[in-house]
């Protein structure tokens, strides 16, 4: 029974995964472009945001159509509600990608701090991996994985703090570069927020599976997925 509805729900899930993996890819691309001062790719990432927004809206409208036409209950309702929230988070994550693109253009072609060159890709890679794992948890309805992903944010935060300190040192040593430093700090901030948004996705995955929404606060995470035996 309800084969058509089940197909529609599966299509929603597939659309979220497609959108999510594109956002994932753009996190990496944008960070690489930022490091290599590739202004063309930076510009492309800014432009790509429009399509991401449109797809997010379309998935949201599809959700609302299903609410109106299928009157979803229980597990179905939680899936649709979670998809609505998750696509919102994906769109916001891509706004951070776009933000980095704009900063990249503002910075021009000159080099950035060596420590950012060295660690920003690592930070981006952890953020991307978090998103990948969160989407995997969503696809597999894996509540255990969704609970473990947020712990990876500790590494992101540690890198953030370290790079933030480097930027502060940069300002101290070259006060006339304060505007440039400020831009770098914003780029760093964008990357760090990406991980926070991914935690929100995990919270919605848990709601979707268990029917209970709980905010996952700092320090209360379960072991990260790469520490799973």
């Amino acid at each position: 029974m309800r084969q058509h509805f089940d197909q529609e729900l599966q299509r929603l899930v597939d659309e979220v995964l497609r959108l999510g993996s594109e956002v994932e890819e753009h996190i990496t691309k944008m960070t690489d472009a930022f490091i290599s001062r590739d202004l063309i790719t930076s510009q492309r990432m800014i432009e790509a945001d429009k399509a991401i927004n449109e797809r997010r809206i379309q998935i949201g409208l599809d959700c609302l159509t299903l609410v109106a036409t299928q009157q979803p209950m229980a597990r179905d309702m939680r899936l649709i509600g979670s998809v609505l929230e998750i696509v919102g988070e994906l769109e916001r994550i891509h706004d951070y990608v776009k933000g980095m693109g704009k900063i990249s253009l503002n910075l021009g072609e000159g080099p950035i701090l060596p420590s950012l060159d060295q660690y920003l890709p690592e930070m981006a890679e952890i953020g991307r991996e978090m998103l990948y794992q969160a989407l995997k948890a969503f696809a597999n309805r894996d509540i255990d994985l969704a609970k473990r992903v947020p712990a990876m944010d500790d590494e992101v935060d540690a890198l953030f703090n370290q790079l933030y300190a480097d930027i502060v040192d940069y300002v101290k040593s070259e006060p006339e570069q304060i505007h440039r430093a400020n831009q770098l700090e914003w780029a760093l901030h964008n990357l760090e927020r990406t991980a926070d948004r991914t935690i929100n996705i995990c919270e919605w995955v848990i709601y979707m599976v268990a029917g209970v929404y709980t905010e996952m606060n700092m320090g209360e995470y379960e072991a990260p997925p790469n520490k799973v035996a």
Binding site: M1, F5, Q71, M73, A74, M77, R78, A210
Partner: protein, 269 residues
């Protein structure tokens, strides 16, 4: 909130009415088994479940309407003010006065609108004069949200009204005898969507004064209208049983039982 399905307190006055270990038979066939359910005063509880799961049978047990079926019998207890309504010294007519019922198909008497409301009160011992009866009829029709539509034609036949108006007239007839509990068996299933919503609005109003049990096939109606929902299913012997009882918000968003989940999401039933 206490899990009402597991609480067994003899004659607990927190409850308007309760079923304890209720089994209902039609001859040798057990139609309903093991029902324990408690209803708090002035709350709406929806009884849902697939066809044949016994939900209407359970509903009718609460005012001994099943007595009218010769082969039907109930085992267990239905406690109303601490008294089992199936005790030998209980008059079923008195039970039905205090536990009123509204049926699926509006069934006004072939009499005037006025008489439809006045009659029940009269046979239940209403002793007032004409002016007092007029007042009771008006109040009941007002409470049933149909007064404005019928006030100028009270002497016309109740059958002249639309389906939705007839059903509200029947509700007026039920509340004219001041029951404590109103049982509703699919009260809107024979009505169009607008009339259905009017009945649903009315039910919300009635809740202020009455405890309401409503059997419905319409899941959205159960979700919209009730505070508690009881989900029934039938076992392999076709005996109906209670699967899950919970706050409506909880049951429709996060049911505990997989059968409930399957039913409310339309995967079985």
């Amino acid at each position: 909130m206490t899990n009402s399905t597991t609480q067994h307190t003899n004659g607990n006055t927190d409850y308007a009415i309760e079923a304890k270990d209720l089994h209902i038979y039609y001859g040798n066939f057990r139609a309903v088994k093991d029902v324990d359910l408690q209803f708090r005063p002035r709350q709406i509880t929806a009884l849902i479940g697939p066809s044949g799961c016994g939900k209407s049978t359970v509903l009718r047990a609460f005012n001994r309407m099943n007595d009218l079926i010769p082969v039907a019998r109930a085992e267990g207890e239905i406690l109303f003010h601490g008294k089992n309504i199936y005790d030998e010294d209980v008059d079923p007519v008195e039970v039905r006065r205090r536990v009123g019922m509204v049926f699926q198909k509006p069934n006004p008497f072939p009499k005037s609108i006025y008489e439809n409301v006045a009659w029940g009160a009269r046979i239940n011992g209403f002793k007032g004069n004409k002016a007092e009866m007029d007042a009771l009829v008006e109040e009941s029709l007002r409470d049933a949200a149909v007064w404005d539509e019928v006030k100028d034609k009270l002497d016309q036949s109740g059958l002249s009204l639309s389906g939705g108006q007839q059903q509200r007239l029947c509700i007026a007839r039920t509340i004219a005898i001041r029951p404590e509990i109103i049982l509703m068996d699919e009260p809107a299933s024979a009505l169009d969507p607008i009339s259905t919503l009017r009945i649903e609005e009315l039910i919300q109003e009635l809740k202020k004064n009455y405890t309401i049990l409503i059997v419905t096939h319409n899941m959205q109606q159960a979700a919209r209208d009730s505070e508690f929902t009881a989900f029934f299913n039938m076992d392999e012997d076709r005996a109906g049983y209670l699967v899950e009882f919970d706050k409506t918000n909880e049951l429709f968003t996060n049911p505990k039982n997989e059968l409930t989940e399957q039913y409310i999401t339309g995967r079985f039933g």
